[in-house]
């Protein structure tokens, strides 16, 4: 597990938690958490190759489109809901946030920070929609229909009265440099939020 957000999440997940991983990809995170933290739970995915990879790893995977909601999961069904790098591809990220915090008291969300300085420079100097490691698609075929910034998400959490338990940023394969701790909206490439609906 090299991606910065995954490493950080690994540290935040409590031992033995029952978790839901939305857009779980090839199941890398869930498999690592099952091995190291003895978590149980399910991954949701729609990519056929990702689903097959999950099955091969022994990760419980449910083929389910996140835009259709999480109605098949009861209130407080899990301890924690995780969604890495998928928020920006959803039709209604705000409603998904409500759903995640209905199914669990706490959630961890990571997404590409559109206000990252390289993205700003790309747009500002080149005049093109940013293309980078965290935003690899062209504007016309990108699945990322709701790009946002570190500050945008914080604002959304405030508007919803949610509690930001922890926040961090990652740059490429690494956890944030000191600059990103001071100016996460500018120096963070990947935004990582740990949000809860109530104070512990």
């Amino acid at each position: 597990m090299k991606r910065a957000d995954l490493t950080l999440i690994h540290g935040w997940v409590p031992e033995g938690a029952h978790i839901l991983d939305l857009a779980c990809g090839n199941g890398t995170l869930l498999a690592a958490l099952a091995r190291d933290k003895h978590v149980s739970g399910y991954g949701l995915e729609i990519d056929p190759d990702g689903i097959t990879a999950c099955l091969q790893k022994g990760v419980n995977v449910i083929e389910q489109n996140l835009d259709e909601g999480l109605a098949n999961f009861e209130d407080d069904a899990c301890d924690l809901v995780i969604m890495t790098q998928a928020l920006q591809a959803l039709r209604r990220p705000d409603l998904m946030l409500d759903e995640m915090l209905r199914v669990a008291g706490e959630c961890i969300i990571t997404f590409p920070n559109f206000a990252y300085w390289r993205h700003r420079a790309y747009l500002g100097f080149k005049g093109f929609m940013p293309v980078s490691k965290s935003l690899p698609h062209a504007w016309y075929d990108t699945p990322n229909i709701h790009l946002s910034t570190f500050n945008d998400f914080e604002q959304l959490c405030r508007d919803k009265g949610l509690i930001i338990v922890d926040r961090a940023v990652g740059i490429g394969d690494h956890e944030g440099h000191w600059t990103s701790r001071w100016w996460p909206n500018l120096f963070g490439e990947i935004a990582i939020f740990r949000v809860s609906r109530h104070r512990d």
Binding site: Y42, I51, L55
Partner: protein, 387 residues
Amino acid sequence: MIPDGLPSDSIGLVTPQTAHFDDPLALACGKTLPAYDLVFETYGILNAERSNAVLICHALSGHHHAAGFHSLEERKPGWWDAHIGPGKSIDTDRFFVVSLNNLGGCHGSTGPISLNPDTSRQWGPEFPMVTVGDWVHSQARLAERLGIERFAAVIGGSLGGMQVLQWALAYPERIANAVVIAATPKLSAQNIAFNEVARQAIRSDPDFHAGWYYEHDTLPRRGLKLARMVGHITYLSADAMGTKFGRDLRSDDFSFGYDVEFQVESYLRYQGDTFSNSFDANTYLLMTKALDYFDPAAAHGGDLARALAPAYCPFLVVSFSTDWRFPPSRSKELVNALIQANKAVSFVNIDSPHGHDAFLMPQPRYQAVFAGFMSRVAHDLNLGGPS
């Protein structure tokens, strides 16, 4: 060794075996079968630990011949040869596969065409009604006979999938993995309605003779043919039928009569005719009733999640996008109840144009999913596979 003339990925020539049981089997209907035979085939080799056995449960008109060939002259291999064999999803190089004909069947296991020892005539319509639970009970006895304490996986499609579910509930300690394909936790009113049309077609045939047709040297061919034609429509998707037949005619123009004109008519009549000469009508009636009765949630006030409480093996549930007999929504019902009951479950909905019949066919994604899951089963039981 694969004899010449057979496909190299086939298990090759296979021979059915018969197990005789003298312990009476108490059935859900209140009656008891004093003794019975189960005919079955096996593929692959049971390992020394007896840990690599896989049970295949068949669907409505299925039987024990799931893979390989009975003879070099046999035109078609067993009904699930696409998925059972060396290197296939159910890899016979790793697994020991057991496939049987269920009680009440007409392919060698005790059923309506067998002799009733009490009357010395064929059982006919007096063969007791058997349920999915009874089948699984008899399958568990066959497992004991073969020295299999726990199946690495129990696998089935359609009515076979219901038997898998029953296994997970009735013998949770004897099933390590459950693969439920194109199935449903219970039939809908529409499913039962189609079954009833099939039954009425058979029972209203003058040649049915209240089920004693054997003694009149006849068969209710017309009824069974109609039953199969109706059934067959529900196995295919509208699109698959459209693609295969469209409105194509057998000759250039309308004949303005009731003989076969459209290709789809010809196809259905052919399917019906073939079936009505090879399948027993009383068995068909029994099997459709077993389908109708299956509803494990009923004993728990309709709460499927509660009914699933005893299960503890991981499940793989597979549905097909154009299946309208047991559509993906019915598989999701099972999956959601498993989630609610906190059970290990994976769910895949395969995009296929072939309707319910898709579960029998090879298709790249279906095979990848099936093989992927089975390789994990093999790995977890140390039978070899990816790490």
